[in-house]
């Protein structure tokens, strides 16, 4: 069970090579298969996730939630997806057509690109980049541009306001997000995600870096535009934020990308802070799924517990609290490492 997928992919490559393909082409074809699996799993998982979030949120608010379509309402999202698929595509005549149409496509591309470096099991990584963690942060921050393109291209005042808020919020929270992971890089001495996981075979980094974990969690919530930081698409005041003018499949792509980002960030959090795929008894790829789902449940929990934060509070919380705290965390980690070495503990 443990190396099921690795054996499968090796067998696939060996079979391709036996057909007379060169190693490069065999690798490229294997990559195509891996990519298809990732996209299929991500897309199907999101229908489950949306159903789960609606059920969980309704229990938080003492409602029943979707419960009519299929057992426990589990076909509700399938029905929603079919509806979005068959809906007319409306591009407002005032919109900047090119930017309006590229924004959702770019958003989903950026979200799927994140999965290239996440270790989904022992040795199960599409590519083990030597700058894996940095790649994740930099690709993840590109989604800011997509949201701004959507807001600007729509030529709608709600959209523009939502986009401006989104950009202000996302660039603000990107700094504590990047700073909080520095402590882990200092301890591991590597940006390779597989090495970060290996370094946690003894103690998980959530125990060594609890402050960094909290800072990263808050900043990631803001970066994902999830409640209580969902100012960019505050429905009650901005109708749909940057997504106001989108319909049908384009809107679905935005939604898909948001949840894809959520899964990716949860997977990174379990990789970096919660020991990644390491765990007893079960195969490594089941452990990462369990941990990712647990982190996502905490995201749901936070979203449906806290009320939305005011814009000025949101900005000053990052600049005046999270950034000084994460800088202090870097100093503290550096001092801690040398203290440990001086005492001979590590």
């Amino acid at each position: 069970m443990e190396s099921l997928f690795i054996n499968l992919s090796q067998a696939f490559t060996a079979w391709l090579m036996s057909l007379g393909l060169s190693a490069g082409w065999a690798d490229a074809l294997l990559l195509a298969v891996q990519w298809t699996c990732i996209v299929a799993i991500v897309t199907l998982n999101i229908t489950i996730l949306i159903w789960l979030e609606r059920r969980v949120s309704s229990f938080f608010q003492e409602r029943l939630g979707p419960n009519r379509v299929g057992p426990l309402g589990c076909f509700q999202t399938v029905a929603d997806a079919l509806k979005l698929l068959t809906k007319e595509d409306i591009v407002p005549s005032a919109a900047d057509k090119l930017i309006f149409k590229t924004a959702p496509a770019l958003f989903i591309i950026v979200a799927v690109m994140l999965y290239a470096v996440i270790p989904m099991g022992d040795g199960m990584q599409v590519v083990d980049l030597n700058v894996g963690l940095f790649y994740f942060i930099s690709i993840g921050s590109l989604s800011t541009i997509c949201l701004f393109m959507a807001g600007w291209g729509s030529n709608n005042k709600w959209s523009l306001m939502g986009a401006l808020r989104a950009v202000a919020q996302m660039i603000t929270y990107e700094i504590p997000l990047a700073f909080s992971l520095l402590g882990i890089v200092m301890i591991t001495g590597s940006l390779r995600l597989s090495e970060i996981v290996e370094a946690q075979s003894g103690v998980w980094f959530i125990i060594l870096q609890p402050v960094a974990f909290l800072v990263y969690f808050i900043a990631a919530t803001a970066e994902l535009n999830r409640g209580p930081f969902d100012m960019p698409e505050a429905e009650q005041e901005l109708t749909g934020g940057a997504y106001t003018e989108y319909t049908g499949m384009r809107w679905a792509l935005f939604f898909l990308a948001e949840y894809t980002n959520l899964v990716a960030v949860s997977a990174l959090m379990s990789t970096v802070f919660l020991g990644g795929w390491q765990g007893p008894w079960l195969p490594s790829w089941i452990w990462i799924i369990i941990k990712t789902y647990l982190v996502m449940m905490v995201f749901f929990w936070v979203k449906w517990t806290f009320p939305r934060i005011r814009m000025d509070q949101l900005m000053s919380f990052s600049w005046k609290f999270l950034i000084p705290v994460s800088l202090g965390n870097i100093l503290f980690t550096g001092a801690g490492i040398y203290f440990c070495k001086w005492m001979g503990w590590c």
């Binding site: 490069g24 490229a28 990559l31 290239a116 790649y135 030529n155 660039i171 200092m186 001495g189 792509l253």
Partner: protein, 121 residues
């Protein structure tokens, strides 16, 4: 064998096909009514009221200030990552350097704070 970055490149090319495939799939199923470009449904949605004035106007300088401070910190982040990777190998020198580096960051943050760039109006 593909190198790491070639793999990322191929992954990107594959990913580009995803939104194209999704839009193509929806093109097959969705209705395509023929409406004039000045039809009501193509107007900008502002809760049913006709839109007034331009959207693409100049906006608050506040956003620009935040963007400037962000830029300074983002460049610092790019410098901090390689430093953090080599932190344990460089010894005490790196530790002293870190204090200087973070002190500069703190001074920058303090200056922005004092000048009111971090206030949201």
């Amino acid at each position: 064998m593909l190198t790491d970055y070639a793999t990322i490149g191929v992954f990107f090319l594959l990913t580009v096909s995803f939104p194209i495939a999704a839009m193509a799939l929806s093109w097959i199923f969705r209705p395509k009514p023929k409406a004039a470009p000045d039809d009501e449904k193509y107007t900008t949605y502002e809760c049913g009221v006709d839109t007034r004035g331009k959207t693409w106007i100049r906006f608050r300088v506040n956003y620009f200030l935040f963007a400037l401070v962000f830029l300074a910190f983002d460049v610092e982040t790019v410098f901090l990552y390689p430093w953090a990777v080599k932190f344990q190998k460089l010894g005490f020198f790196a530790f002293a350097e870190m204090i200087v580096f973070i002190a500069i960051l703190v001074v920058a943050l303090w200056y922005a704070w004092k000048e009111g760039a971090l206030e949201w109006h």
